[in-house]
Symmetry: C2
């Protein structure tokens, strides 16, 4: 696929205004942005999106899991598989305004700008807002796109019970977003998702556009180490079975191994607790989590195996017992090479610096990649901060990213 | 001082029976032994002790902080400074039956046995039960002996507010143990305390009697490490400021240093917490405690300094900030050499194995050592377990320890 610029750009003022407007919907009493999936606040956000879709003269469709689609069926292209642009508009608690919303609103903007500029697509172009990407109220996260891609039966997803005891299907019906379309009713020709990076790589590198070529596999484990509680003053070092010390060895092992490796593997211990958790008692138990990620499945398995080997040695050396429990496991996703190259070419054409990169976070794109060629475009996150009101991307970067999206979509939907 | 056996032994059946009886007083609804200082349960325990003191024809005195004294003033010795045998009968929550009570009841047994055998002491012999050694309801711990030795004004101690909002002075008056004697009213000639080891050393060594020559200094610190919270998937290892990893380095440093040193230094990290404590977020903050102990003050200071140096290096290397806060600090106590030798000689005379050792825990003896020569005798704790219903010392060891106490006291109170 060679690159031909459409010469069209998005309406920056309209895009930034909509991001700001959507970011004001769902503020709680403490002015925190909270639009949990299928809540009243989510309904308000959805209503705003649908009104903008209608303003752009798009056909609006909602499927049974509540995914919203704004469809531009150009008469020339009705029978073709569509280009889909997607992300989500649900948020975490006390969220920033960009995560997800930026991708959906940019998709809408791209369609509206192409259309008003007289662009004639060879296939329909669809903007999608997937239900419950964040997974705060209902699990699993990335639920709407997972169901859409056939990875989870819709009935099972609708039966999900929330942290507040509600049932997702009932809540979707209550807010008027239990649609009638079967998930997967539009089979995309290609899928593109524009998102803030949520990490520091682009900012640190001083690069404006990330051409996301893959998405890390994730391995979550909970590790429980059992030692023997004893008096901190009366128990000689040689007679201890210290679960806390053993935990510290695992934390150091993971970090030192990942930091000294030339691979992009990342390893994190984010949660920990000791029992009995008293100043003068040697811990009898330490429980902690391990988050391992790598874009290559073989390497991720090798890291898991290295940890397992280390735990066996450690248990013997420290006279402790160690149990591991798998909390979550996702294999890595490789995005479509041709679309990644289009992202690079579009950035170059616009005079923007770009770099290939890996997504460290999970996104709807990883689910939709199961059913069609897919890729992602990242823009910088200042300080790498997200899931936080301090989440921030400069306006110039937001506009640049949306124009790259426009160029990629117009290429994918061009008549060649 | 040369050793001359009195030829007298304690009444083992009476001692063991009283330990068992006292261990049944203060059982809560879950059958847990709980006699917190100045509680109703403590009153019941005190009443039993006082009734046994009267049964042994001792003069009972109570001082203003509630310490109870059973005094044998042999007519030959009235004007001499007394030999004091002491410990405590308050307990932790869900306690064993030996900690403290064994020492007090053995002291009573020693006096009663010496007296009924016709022993003629050159000085009064006193058994003391000090108030609030455990420090669970009121702080500080070892309070009664600290006040007795002049280390804390009695008014200040009586004003102590408990975890339940009560005031110690009011509670002592309520249970009838706010005495009239000024703390310190009996100035001891020497002090001996018999106690279970609360550690595994004697059991592991297969030795019956510990001649306790010193008591560790204790240094407690709370360490707070501040890093930067970031996404576990999107933040490369090289760009992290991981407070949790830095904490693991400190834990490993302390343990590896103490374990590889030929000194008796012990180091423990018993409490820890991470913030925000989420599986997929790099910890922004780690808070943990450090318990360092050594019987030598210079070495304890050297260990504190080594830790401080390590923290400075670590903060720079890991891009974190580290703050330390002193929670408690006690200098080591060296017990009286002559009494320690008497303990060894008494054990040998009884055909018991003995070893010199360090007390890793705090005891009333460390306070009374401020005002007179003092030492302690330890008996084995099976598994090193204490502050727990599984606290256990075989009867033969309990009896042997009490007989060694009798011999030491009779030597100290003999007419030479």
């Amino acid at each position: 696929m060679t690159y031909h610029s459409s010469g069209i750009s998005i309406d920056a003022v309209r895009l930034l205004s909509r991001i700001e407007q959507l970011g004001q919907i769902g503020r709680d009493g403490e002015d925190r942005l909270v639009r949990l999936a299928a809540s009243d606040a989510d309904k308000s956000g959805r209503d705003a999106l649908v009104s903008w879709m209608k303003e752009a003269d798009l056909e609006v469709a909602v499927d049974r899991i509540g995914n919203i689609f704004g469809i531009w069926r150009a008469s020339s292209a009705e029978d073709q598989a569509p280009i889909m642009i997607g992300s989500h508009i649900d948020t975490v608690i006390d969220a920033g305004v960009y995560d997800g919303c930026y991708g959906v609103l940019s998709g809408l903007e791209v369609i509206q700008s192409l259309r008003s500029a007289g662009f004639v697509p060879s296939r329909p172009i669809v903007v999608a807002a997937f239900t419950n990407e964040e997974g705060v109220r209902y699990t699993p996260d990335m639920m709407g796109s997972l169901v859409y891609a056939g990875g989870l039966p819709v009935e099972e997803a609708l039966a999900s019970v929330g942290t507040d005891g509600t049932v997702l299907g009932e809540e979707l019906a209550r807010i008027g977003y239990a649609g009638s379309k079967e998930p997967g009713f539009l089979k995309p020709h290609a899928y593109v998702e524009l998102h803030i990076e949520q990490g520091p790589v682009l900012e640190k590198a001083g690069v404006q556009v990330g051409a996301v070529e893959n998405l890390q596999g994730i391995s979550w484990q909970r590790i429980t180490i059992e030692g023997v509680a004893n008096h901190a003053g009366t128990t000689p070092m040689s007679l201890r079975a210290d679960a806390g010390y053993a935990a510290s060895r695992v934390i150091s092992f993971l970090r030192d191994r990942a930091a000294s490796s030339p691979t992009p593997t990342v390893a994190t211990v984010g949660c920990i607790s000791f029992e009995p958790n008293a100043v003068n008692i040697i811990p009898s138990r330490a429980v902690f989590t391990v988050d391992l990620r790598d874009p290559n499945e073989d390497r991720l398995q090798a890291e898991e195996a290295a940890l397992a080997d280390f735990l066996i040695e450690l248990a013997a050396a420290e006279k402790v017992t160690i149990a591991t429990e798998r909390m979550a496991r996702f294999t890595p996703v490789t995005f479509d090479r041709a679309i990644v190259k289009l992202v690079e070419a579009a950035a170059e054409q616009r005079g923007l610096s770009s770099m290939r990169m890996t997504s460290g976070a999970g996104h709807d794109a990883q689910m939709i990649a199961r059913i069609c060629p897919a890729a992602m475009i990242f823009v910088p996150s200042i300080g790498g901060i997200s899931h936080n009101p301090r989440e921030f991307t400069p306006e110039a970067d937001l506009v640049a990213g949306a124009n790259v999206l426009l160029d990629v979509v117009s290429q994918l939907a061009s008549k060649q």
